[in-house]
């Protein structure tokens, strides 16, 4: 009977869509990428600390950078006072990338993993070979 066949096809397609992620994800070990902190600049540091605590940087680095951009471009401020009271220059190129001189690995690994597009390099530190630390 045509109707029964159509019903079964409908359920089949539904189940296929439902299990598709499981089929695609089967057997792969999917741990989050390890952050690559192996740069000569970081190795040379005495105290290996970012400007803010790791937890904060991990979840909120984008808002920090957004605030920096607005402060620098619109207000002309360049000094950032961190939560520990230290003063840093608000600059992606001169502050962030001076330590993390490997943005292709450091930034891109997580951003590719969670599919978040980066549009920093549309202005910053772009060369023909890709992104380099100091622009």
């Amino acid at each position: 009977m045509a109707r029964r066949k159509l019903t079964l096809i409908f359920i089949g397609v539904f189940c296929l869509i439902m299990v598709a992620p499981f089929i695609l994800g089967a057997g792969k070990a999917h741990s989050a990428p390890e952050l690559d902190l192996n740069t000569p600049e970081i190795a040379a540091l005495d105290v290996k600390e970012c400007i803010e605590p790791v937890e904060y940087m991990r979840s909120s680095h984008m808002t920090l950078l957004d605030e920096w951009r607005n402060d620098v471009v619109r207000e002309g401020k360049t000094d950032y006072v961190s939560s520990s009271g230290q003063v840093y220059e608000m600059s992606l190129d001169d502050t962030c990338l001076s330590c993390h001189s490997n943005p292709d690995a450091f930034c891109e690994s997580c951003h590719a993993y969670s599919n978040v597009e980066l549009y920093c390099w549309e202005c910053h530190g772009l060369t023909d070979d890709g992104v380099v630390g100091k622009g």
Binding site: T7, G25, P33, T63, Y113
Partner: protein
Amino acid sequence: MRILAPFLLVVALALIAWASTAFLHLGTLFGVIVPYAAFALFVVGFAIRVMRWGASAVPFCITTTCGQQKSLPWVRQAKLDNPSSYAGVVGRMLLEVLFFRSLFRNSKAEKRDDRFGYGSAKWLWLGALAFHWSMLIIVVRHFRLFLDPVPEFIGVIEGADSVLQIGIPLLYLTDVVIVGALTFLFLRRVVLPRIRFVSLSIDYFPLFLLLGIALSGIALRYGVRVDVTGVKEVAMGLVSFSPVAPEGIEPLLFVHLFLVCVLIVYFPWGKLMHAPGVFFSPTRNLANNSRMVRHVNPWNYDVKVHTYAEYEQDFGEKMRKVGLPLDSE
């Protein structure tokens, strides 16, 4: 009470998930066991309901006819609103499923002063369309957390959804639209007296649940900001059947996840089954061809009939003897 009870239920569900993960550290329960169970219940329940529909009889050809049916060659047929062919039915179904044509055709009767008239009423259609399309885009977008590598088209959809590049993280337009649409659909039930009258708590429950899911999701992205790579690790663990015990993840994520679990467990047993139901609705999926094709009720059992010809065969001899006329002679 019909509004308050489902609202409190959703709040209670959210609080349960939040308290259990924030204080009791039941991350494995809410991050692994409940999602698996909910997903299994969803798929099985969905299939059972659909199979029951597929097995139930359609005794009559009961297409709703919304236009001129196929008639004489010089009478123009409304091919989509009164389809007589398979292609017409498919076209009508597509319009119904993708663009909610029957809601679009909604009309409203109103008395103004002494005059009574009908007018088009498109607000429900607009709200429903805004909600459902946002919902679809949001569900598709979430697959960036369940697939590795992420397919190209998901990035394209995300890019289109955040095309205005408002704020950081980029504002998704569907986030705004879905909350607006759900709020509208809720207010519609509260404000319009006649719709309020026919609304039961089970009508409000999915609205509150979806609002809870949307708002918690929005809060996770723009407010408390969860560590996305950590969340993806948990999600990938689920789909690769090697679940990772979620640790150090914001309790609000579990509220979001638990409400989604509640939604999909409830889904097959409530009004939300209109999603597959539209495909199985005989008023939509049948062609109006009852003057061309005989619609046989599948309930009909084989009736044992004894025709007059057979009657004559059995009793013809006796009939001829008494001089009765016979058809066979």
